[in-house]
C-alpha cells in the first residue's frame, strides 16, 4: 500500500521529516491523508444516499438511525479485526468490552455527566482496563482455549449484570436511566444540522458518530502502519519465529487485545448514546458472535472490510427483516443472513472487501 518508488519516497522523506520534527508522531505519512479524507467523504455522503437521496434511498429503504448504528458496529468490528485478522486471535468474548463500556457510559451519564464526549471517554476507559485484565488472564492459553476463556469471562459479566449487580445495571430490564446531554452543551443530538449539512448528514448524533469513526479509522490505519502492524502480522504468520527473533510475543498480543478493547469501548459507549438505553443483551454471547460474523463477512485483515460487514449484517437484520425488497421474506431474515454469510464465505473466502480488492487488482493490473 505504501510501497512507492524508492526515488519518490526519498525526496518525500526529506520534507516529511522536517514536518515530523514539528508535529512529532502526529504528522501524516504515506497514504494516511488519502485514507482519512476518503473515509470522511464516504461517511459524509452515506446517510444521504442511504435514507434521503431520491431513487437510491427508495431502493435501499434505509433510515438515518440505522446509518448511525452501522458506523457504531463498524468501529467495533474494525477494532475486532486488529485482533482476529491481523494478530490471528479469535476472541469470543468481546461483548465484555462492548457491554462494559455501554453500561459504564450509561451509569456515568446518570451519575456524573451526560456530555457525550465524557460518556465515550468513561466507557472507553473502563473497556480498556477490562481488556487489560481479561487479556492478561485469557492470553495464557492459545487457540480454542483462548476463545473459550474469553467467552467464559464475558458470560460471567452477563450473569453479574443480570442479577447480582442488577441494582446498578437494571438486570433483565437493561439500564434505562441514560441521560444524554447536548453535544458540547449546545447541540441536541437528535436535532438536524443546519442547511446542507442537515441534508447530507442528518442529525448531530450522526455527525458526532461519523467524526469518531473517522478518528478511529485514522487510529487503526496508523497502528497498522506502525511497527505494531508488522509485528501483529508476523505473530499471526509464525508465532515461534517471532519469539525467536527476540520479540515478546505475549506482550504484543496483550497490546493487540487491549487496542481492540479500546475500539469496542468507543463503540459500546456510542451504542448507549445512540439508543439512550443499555439492553442486557449487550453482554450476551450473541453480541460477541455478531462481531465475529461481521468481521469475517466483510473480510478479515483489512481496514474497511469489517465496517462493510457490519453494514451488510445490520442491513439484513433491520431492513430485510422488515420485508424489503419482498414482503414474504420478512419472517425468514435469519435464514437470509445465514445464506448471505455462507455464499460470501464460499465465493469470496477473504470476505466482501477481499472480493473488492481482487476486482480492483484485476482492473488495475495488480498495481495497488
Amino acid at each position: 500500500m505504501s510501497d512507492e518508488p524508492a526515488a519518490a519516497s526519498e525526496t518525500d522523506a526529506d520534507t516529511s521529516d522536517s514536518i515530523a520534527d514539528m508535529v512529532g508522531v502526529w504528522a501524516p505519512r504515506g497514504n494516511e491523508v488519502r485514507v482519512v479524507a476518503g473515509t470522511a467523504v464516504v461517511l459524509a455522503l452515506f446517510p444521504f444516499a442511504f435514507s434521503r437521496m431520491p431513487v437510491v434511498s427508495d431502493l435501499l429503504q434505509g433510515y438515518q438511525s440505522l446509518a448511525t448504528l452501522i458506523l457504531i458496529w463498524g468501529i467495533f468490528a474494525l477494532g475486532f479485526d486488529l485482533l482476529l485478522g491481523y494478530t490471528g486471535l479469535l476472541s469470543f468474548g468481546h461483548a465484555a468490552f462492548w457491554g462494559g463500556a455501554a453500561y459504564t457510559a450509561g451509569v456515568f451519564s446518570q451519575q456524573v455527566s451526560g456530555s457525550p464526549v465524557l460518556m465515550v471517554a468513561a466507557g472507553t476507559a473502563f473497556a480498556v482496563l477490562l481488556a487489560w485484565a481479561l487479556g492478561f488472564l485469557s492470553l495464557r492459553r492459545g487457540g480454542i482455549y483462548f476463545a473459550i476463556l474469553t467467552l467464559a469471562f464475558a458470560q460471567m459479566l452477563f450473569y453479574m449484570s443480570s442479577s447480582p449487580l442488577a441494582f446498578i445495571t437494571g438486570g433483565e430490564n437493561g439500564f434505562t436511566g441514560v441521560e444524554t446531554a447536548e453535544l458540547f452543551g449546545t447541540f441536541p443530538l437528535e436535532s438536524e444540522l443546519p442547511s446542507v449539512l442537515g441534508l447530507l448528514l442528518g442529525t448531530w448524533l450522526y455527525a458526532f458518530v461519523a467524526l469518531i469513526t473517522v478518528l478511529c479509522v485514522a487510529l487503526a490505519y496508523r497502528i497498522l502502519q506502525s511497527p505494531y502492524g508488522m509485528v501483529f502480522r508476523a505473530i499471526r504468520e509464525n508465532e515461534q519465529r517471532a519469539e525467536f527473533v527476540g520479540l515478546n510475543v505475549w506482550r504484543y498480543r496483550l497490546m493487540s487485545f487491549i487496542l481492540s478493547g479500546l475500539f469496542a469501548g468507543i463503540a459500546g459507549s456510542l451504542f448507549t448514546i445512540h439508543g439512550t438505553y443499555v439492553p442486557l443483551a449487550s453482554f450476551y454471547w450473541t453480541t460477541s458472535g455478531e462481531v465475529v460474523i461481521m468481521t469475517v463477512l466483510g473480510g478479515t485483515g483489512s481496514l474497511f472490510g469489517p465496517i462493510i460487514g457490519a453494514g451488510v449484517y445490520l442491513y439484513v437484520e433491520n431492513i430485510v427483516s422488515g420485508g424489503h425488497p419482498f414482503d414474504f421474506i420478512a419472517p425468514f431474515w435469519h435464514l437470509i443472513l445465514g445464506l448471505v454469510f455462507v455464499v460470501v464465505i464460499w465465493v469470496f473466502p477473504r470476505g466482501i472487501w477481499g472480493f473488492v480488492r481482487d476486482v480492483r487488482d484485476a482492473v488495475t493490473g495488480g498495481d495497488d
Binding site: 505504501s2 510501497d3 519516497s9 522523506a13 516529511s16 521529516d17 515530523a20 508522531v25 502526529w26 505519512r29 504515506g30 496508523r222 497502528i223 502502519q225 506502525s226 511497527p227 505494531y228 502492524g229 508488522m230 509485528v231 502480522r233 508476523a234 504468520e237 509464525n238 515461534q240 519465529r241 517471532a242 519469539e243 525467536f244 527473533v245 527476540g246 520479540l247 515478546n248 510475543v249 506482550r251 504484543y252 497490546m255 487496542l259
Partner: protein, 252 residues
C-alpha cells in the same frame, strides 16, 4: 571466559537421555560444528541453548550469565540467534518485512509502545534490514512475498532473519538440509562470507561432512547425547572412535 558454556547439561525425555552431561564451551570468534549420527541429540542441544526446551539439570551460560531461567526472546535479545532446520519465515509478509521484523527486535528491544509511530520513521530498522538482505543476496527480491521464493531462497531468508537480529552467537541448525547441490554450494559460500566479513561466532549443526570440515575451527562429536570427541577438523578426521560411532568405520 567463553561466550557460551554448558555445564553438566542433562535433558531427559521420560526414560530417554537426549543430552547426557554435556560440557561445551564456545569461545568468541570461534566456529564450532556439532556433528553426530541421527538421534545423537544435536537438535535437542540447540533447543536447550535457545530455551525452547527446559534442561532437566545443569546450567547454560551466555557471556558468563546463566540463561536457564530466561524466556526465548530474552535469550535472543542477549545475542543468541538461531536459524531453523526448516525455512521458518513469515510467509505472507514481503521479504523486506521479514528482515525488518528481526531488525526491529534487534534495534528496539523485545517490546515497545510505538503503535502511533509510522514505520517509515524507523530508519535504523530499514538500514539493518537492507544490509542483511544485501548480504544474503535477496535485496532485488525485497518486495516479493516470502511465500513466492524458491526453497533455497527461503532458506537464505531464514539465515537472513537470524542475521538481522544482529547476534553475537549464531546457531545454525542444518542450514543446507533439503537443498540442491547448487543451493548447498551457494549457502556454504554465504556462511563462509558471513564468517569472514561479520566475524561472527557460530555453532553449526550439519550432516554434510564436507561443509563441516570446510567451515569449522573445532568440531564436537555427539553420540547418544554424550560428547565422544572434540577437536580440530584434522583431529576428528583421524579419530578412530568417531569413525566407529558416526561414520561406521568408513575411512575419510
Amino acid at each position: 571466559m567463553a561466550l557460551l558454556e554448558t555445564e553438566n547439561l542433562v535433558k531427559e525425555f521420560g526414560g530417554l537421555v537426549a543430552t547426557d552431561d554435556v560440557n561445551l564451551a564456545v569461545e568468541e570468534d570461534e566456529r564450532v560444528s556439532i556433528i553426530g549420527p541421527n538421534g545423537a541429540g544435536k537438535s535437542t542441544l540447540i533447543n536447550l541453548i535457545t530455551r525452547r526446551l527446559d534442561p532437566t539439570s545443569g546450567d547454560i551460560r551466555f557471556k558468563g550469565e546463566s540463561i536457564v531461567n530466561r524466556d526465548p526472546h530474552e535469550v535472543v535479545q542477549m545475542g543468541v540467534s538461531k536459524s531453523f532446520q526448516t525455512a521458518s519465515i513469515f510467509s505472507n509478509l514481503t521479504v523486506r518485512e521479514n528482515a525488518e521484523i528481526a531488525a526491529l527486535a534487534a534495534e528496539h528491544g523485545s517490546f515497545g509502545f510505538k503503535f502511533l509511530e509510522h514505520r517509515d520513521s524507523l530508519t535504523d530498522v530499514h538500514e539493518v534490514a537492507r544490509n542483511t538482505l544485501d548480504a544474503v543476496g535477496l535485496l532485488d527480491q525485497a518486495d516479493r512475498m516470502a511465500s513466492e521464493l524458491p526453497y533455497g531462497d527461503k532458506r537464505r531468508l531464514e539465515i537472513g532473519i537470524a542475521l538481522a537480529a544482529e547476534p553475537d552467537l549464531l546457531l545454525m541448525d542444518e542450514p543446507t538440509a533439503g537443498m540442491s547441490p547448487e543451493e548447498t554450494e551457494a549457502t556454504v559460500d554465504l556462511v563462509e562470507e558471513v564468517k569472514r566479513e561479520m566475524g561472527l561466532t557460530f555453532v553449526l549443526i550439519e550432516h554434510d561432512m564436507e561443509i563441516v570440515f570446510r567451515v569449522s575451527d573445532r568440531i564436537v562429536v555427539l553420540n547418544r547425547g554424550r560428547v565422544i570427541a572434540e577437536g580440530t577438523p584434522d583431529e576428528i578426521r583421524g579419530n578412530p572412535e568417531v569413525q566407529e560411532a558416526y561414520l561406521g568405520g568408513v575411512d575419510l
